[in-house]
């Protein structure tokens, strides 16, 4: 346990630590571009220069601790060299922040304002390079903005292991480039390089020029794409920046999805499916209760549902594994005696989707199978003779498999043909409209928060379950 001094503070460091690691642990910020907690150290940006008494300047990210060393992270010497480093790094940078999606959350921009603020001292023409280079069907590359920190290439070599990126040529004509034999489009984790790129060189095609990031706010959520249950941030417009003209649907839509760093579940990564959650949540919604396809009011639909429940002799419920812990527990508590319950798998793997790997992706493409099975068991849905009522909660069950004589109560969020076939159809809210928790395959519980208001007529499943249970308990 060598003792070292950072800016005068005595610190017990561990032998295997670098100065960067110790400084971060103890709240001494050292700026960095190429260093990343989950990637190998390359030490190529030299932004993390610190001064060591008696040894001069060196990079903190690759500096092992040594007994008694005195490190200064912000001496005059360090400040001067940091400024010089920023001159180098921006030597050929186009400084086109005005049209760059990263502006507002760009490390280069932040450091420039914080540590330099200086105009370029160079009189030479900047080296021009490719802009909007087609890296994959999801990602564009702006080689002029790239500062060659090599985080993206290291990610594909060390984390996703697709080996899809490398650097061609050298010096100021170096370019990040993909290779044909291992296309980046086949890397299901590719979009993480957009987040870890410290500048605006890697651009999401989905998000390209969609919004300035300061118009958006993140809501913590959980990806329902598989049983890993990665924690994510759903970005949507801030209330104070709601659009009054133009396309108002944008006020209610997910602008982008980014990982929410969570060492217990997903670390700082998510897969590309998690980025595409808008495609799941923004399908056309069902917002009217119906009786056999005929729109009715919510109380009318509830009355009819209660009547069917009261009259049923053998009632079966297919419980959604997209329900939150709270909803599933309420169902068990309020209706668990009334229905014979089975867990229903709402989603199956899609064609072409990666089934499972040893990084994050799980074969079970549903968020809460763990809690659902804990409460309702492992049996496959089955219908005894004499089943006269089936409550189907959530999508993904083929109605042709339901007993032909049974009445159907259907709780669903999306506009789907089955809705009209149910005796009672009740629209329910989706994850982006409510609070809740999911339990992932390891038993880790993560919370999600609402981003949007549900439409009138759309109920939260939890309230609905309580409403259905109220009289059913009275007349067993």
């Amino acid at each position: 346990m060598p003792e070292i001094f950072i800016n005068g503070q005595a610190i017990e460091a561990r032998d295997d630590q670098t100065v960067m690691a110790v400084a971060r642990e103890h709240g001494h910020f050292i700026p960095y571009f190429c260093w990343h907690p989950q990637l190998s150290v390359v030490g190529n940006c030299r932004m993390c220069l610190v001064e060591v008494e008696g040894r001069g300047l060196d990079i903190a990210c690759n500096m092992p601790v040594a007994k008694g060393m005195k490190v200064f992270t912000n001496s005059e010497e360090v400040q001067a060299h940091r400024k010089a480093m920023l001159q180098f790094i921006t030597l050929n940078h186009p400084v086109d922040c005005g049209i760059c999606d990263k502006a507002g959350e760009c490390t280069l921009q932040d450091y420039h304002y914080q540590y330099s603020g200086q105009r370029s001292l160079s009189h030479d023409q900047k080296v021009r390079s490719t802009k909007f280079y087609n890296l994959s069907n999801r990602i564009l590359l702006d080689n002029e903005r790239c500062i060659l920190c090599l985080r993206c290439t290291r990610f594909t070599h060390e984390v996703s292991k697709s080996m899809a990126l490398g650097v061609e040529r050298r010096g100021d004509t170096s370019n990040i480039r993909p290779v044909e034999d291992r296309p980046l489009s086949e890397d299901p984790y590719s979009d993480n390089i957009i987040d870890i790129c410290p500048v605006g060189a890697l651009l999401s095609r989905q998000f390209l020029h969609k919004s300035r990031v300061w118009f958006l706010q993140p809501t913590p959520s959980v990806c329902p794409g598989c049983a890993r249950g990665c924690t994510v941030q759903l970005w949507h417009r801030k209330p104070e920046w709601k659009l009054k003209a133009l396309d108002q649907r944008q006020n209610e839509s997910i602008a982008r999805v980014t990982p929410l760093d969570n060492p217990a579940v997903n670390g700082p990564w998510i897969c590309n499916k998690g980025r595409d959650l808008a495609q799941v949540f923004e399908r056309v919604r069902a917002d009217e209760p119906m009786l056999k396809g005929r729109p009715v009011t919510v109380p009318a639909a509830l009355d009819e549902a209660r009547r069917l429940i009261g009259a049923a002799r053998h009632a079966v419920a297919l419980v959604s594994n997209w329900g939150s812990n709270e909803e599933l527990e309420t169902f068990k508590d309020k209706l668990g005696e009334v229905f014979h319950c089975f867990v229903k798998e709402d989603w199956q793997p899609q064609p072409g989707e990666r089934l499972e790997d040893d990084l994050l992706i799980r074969a079970d493409k549903n968020p809460n199978t763990t809690r659902a099975r804990e409460l309702f068991g492992h049996a496959e849905p089955g219908f005894k003779d004499g089943t006269d009522l089936v409550l189907v909660w959530g999508e993904g069950f083929d109605f042709a498999r339901l007993p032909s004589r049974a009445r159907i109560i259907f709780l669903n969020s999306y506009l789907q043909p089955e809705n009209g076939h149910a005796d009672v159809f009740l629209p329910v809210s989706i994850q982006t409209e409510r609070h809740g928790h999911y339990t992932n395959f390891q038993g880790t519980v993560s919370a999600f928060e609402p981003c949007f208001e549900p439409k009138p007529g759309v109920l939260h499943a939890e309230d609905l379950i309580r409403a259905l249970a109220a009289p059913a308990r009275g007349h067993p």
Binding site: M163, G166, R169, D181
Partner: protein, 154 residues
């Protein structure tokens, strides 16, 4: 590339296991010596042979200007145009040859005889200006020297 595999196996013995990427450079040099340039098929075959991603081979090839991706002429004239040579008139001697051969750096004469290139310091600053013709050094270049040399390269 296939016929070089026995030689590559020998290279492999010089490195500990797991250092396949270190073999990229010696293998590429051998390929170029043999074929005169590195073809796309060489890259593909070498990637398979070494079990490294193709990008790693492309990185090496594009980093070193000494590697060629296209066939070149019988005589490869590489003029140094780094500081010492430039100060001693590299641009003038180069212009002389350009004019004589009717080609610019990066080009090959239509008869396939000469290829002209400019390169960085070849470590012979003391005898600047200088150039390489294939594997040999030619130093303290003057117009007359060049004229005589080109005569001899027919």
């Amino acid at each position: 590339m296939k016929h070089l595999v026995p030689e590559f196996e020998k290279f492999r013995e010089r490195f500990p296991a797991g250092f396949e990427s270190s073999l990229v450079l010696p293998c590429l040099r051998r390929i170029q010596e043999d074929r005169g340039y590195v073809a796309n098929s060489d890259i593909e075959e070498l990637a398979v042979f070494l079990g490294v991603p193709q990008i790693q081979i492309e990185e090496v090839l594009s980093f070193y200007t000494q590697f060629r991706r296209k066939p070149i002429g019988r005589w490869h004239l590489q003029f140094c145009h780094n500081v010492s040579c430039s100060m001693n008139g590299a641009e003038n001697v180069l212009a002389h040859v350009e004019q004589k051969l009717g080609i610019k750096p990066g080009q090959t004469t239509p008869d396939g005889r000469y290829t002209l290139s400019t390169v960085e310091c070849l470590g012979s600053c003391g005898t600047a200006p200088m150039m390489m013709v294939n594997d040999g050094y030619h130093e303290n270049l003057t117009f007359t020297k060049l004229d005589e040399l080109l005569e001899g390269l027919k």
